[in-house]
């Protein structure tokens, strides 16, 4: 099978940001994303999911490297200063080049 390399951006941030973040991702041109509920700890303290309001979400977007950079840059500019958030990038192999 032919494989293609794409970039996966993973963002872990406050659940309250879900709507705003999705709007942002779609505005930049992401064609898909996957979200899971999470909890965690970081420089902004512990974030438990006992209370929906207080939990984290973990968002993954697979796309081409250029878009991944734009996402990282835009998300960083818009949200980093004031929200609990981390972002990291990885390479992934996909089967359908046209999809991502």
């Amino acid at each position: 099978m032919q494989h293609y390399t794409r970039r996966m951006v993973t963002i872990v941030t406050e659940a309250a940001l879900e709507r705003a973040l999705i709007l942002e991702l779609e505005a930049i041109g992401a064609r898909g994303f996957t979200i899971t509920d999470a909890r965690g700890k970081g420089s902004r303290g512990t974030r438990q999911s006992d209370w929906a309001q207080e939990g984290n979400i973990r968002v993954e977007v697979i796309c081409d490297p250029a878009l991944a950079e734009s996402i990282a840059e835009r998300v960083r500019a818009k949200f980093y200063d004031h929200y609990a958030m981390i972002l990291f990038l990885q390479d992934v192999s996909v089967l359908r080049s046209d999809k991502f």
Binding site: E14, A16, G45, Q48, D50, W51, A52, F79, D81
Partner: protein, 314 residues
């Protein structure tokens, strides 16, 4: 003197479990279930009573509520900014929280009044709805200034008016009003019969949450505790006087005083997080949830009731 109704004891149990780090986490879904039931029940109860009595909110009352909602944040802001020396955004956020209201406090209050057989204006749930939003708008204005174009007012307002508590309470109210006492009879065992039991569960959870919130009380501890206790007293006074001015019953004055004293811990935090992200969310939430909420339900309510009797005498 203290309100030690069993539902309050549930709050204390939850707070104890939270502080002792007992293995008592309740999943978020339970919180959602219990709070949905409460909000609907409060709305339904009001609606059914409205259907029984005369309907409608006098214009003067509406004006008074709007004045309270938009006005109360201003002294809160000034105190937080100049006495508390907080950054502008944080002061504005506190103003939004303390200007707005807490439905949980309202639920404890109506349970308490029911136990004591004290009547109040049946349209009180409408007051809660009317009081929730204006202070949050005021808080955003205080943070940004009027000229600021950076606030997306339209989407903020939309989000506020379609918030969980407003939709469920107004929805319940409408259903109760349309269906009346007889129409709602078959659903009353769940919404009315279990009300206090559900409230007990809700307060158990609030105790747990309040306790974990206390952990954030490291910096500004002295100011926050003083603020969280004194501000509701000030709010209650304003609310009581206003209630007297618009000729509410003693029960109604108690309700308005308690609402003014209460601080939002759901609508305000959510809205401020989006509209004024540079405000420290832990600060306002700790004050509102871990200090003012327990203070109000345990010590405040009996106090505000006396205050109302006093004020009604003038």
């Amino acid at each position: 003197m203290l309100n030690l109704d069993p539902v309050i004891l549930f709050f204390l149990l939850g707070a104890f479990a939270g502080l002792a780090k007992a293995e008592l986490r309740l999943p978020a879904a339970i919180y959602d279930f219990v709070s949905t039931l409460l909000l609907l029940a409060i709305g339904l109860k009001g609606g059914v009573e409205l259907a029984r009595a005369e309907a409608g909110l006098p214009a003067i009352e509406l004006l008074a509520l709007l004045a309270l909602g938009f006005g109360l944040p201003i002294p809160v802001f000034l105190v937080a900014k100049f006495l508390g020396r907080l950054p502008r955004a944080d002061a504005a956020s506190l103003a939004a929280h303390y200007g707005s209201v807490s439905v949980g406090t309202f639920a404890v209050l109506i349970g308490h009044l029911a136990t004591q057989g004290i009547a109040y204006e049946v349209r009180a749930p409408v007051w809660v709805v009317v009081l929730e939003v204006p202070a949050i708008l005021a808080g955003v204005l205080l943070a940004r200034g009027i000229s600021s174009g950076s606030v997306e007012w339209k989407s903020l307002l939309r989000e506020l008016l379609l918030g969980r508590s407003i939709v469920l309470m107004l929805g319940g109210l409408a259903i109760g009003w349309i269906s009346g006492p007889e129409g709602t009879a078959p659903i009353q065992p769940l919404f009315f019969g279990l009300f206090k039991g559900i409230l007990a569960l809700f307060l158990l959870e609030m105790g747990l949450i309040a306790a974990t919130q206390l952990g954030s009380l490291k910096r500004n501890a002295v100011f926050l505790v003083a603020f969280g206790v004194l501000m509701p007293l000030f709010g209650a006074l304003v609310g009581a006087v206003l209630g007297r001015a618009i000729d509410l019953s003693v029960g109604g004055i108690t309700v308005l005083a308690t609402l003014a004293a209460s601080a939002s811990y759901i609508a305000a935090p959510t809205a401020m997080r989006t509209a004024v992200p540079e405000a420290n969310p832990a600060l306002s939430l700790t004050a509102s949830l871990a200090i003012t909420f327990p203070f109000n339900i345990i010590i405040g309510i009996p106090l505000y009731q006396r205050l109302a009797t006093l004020v009604a005498g003038f």
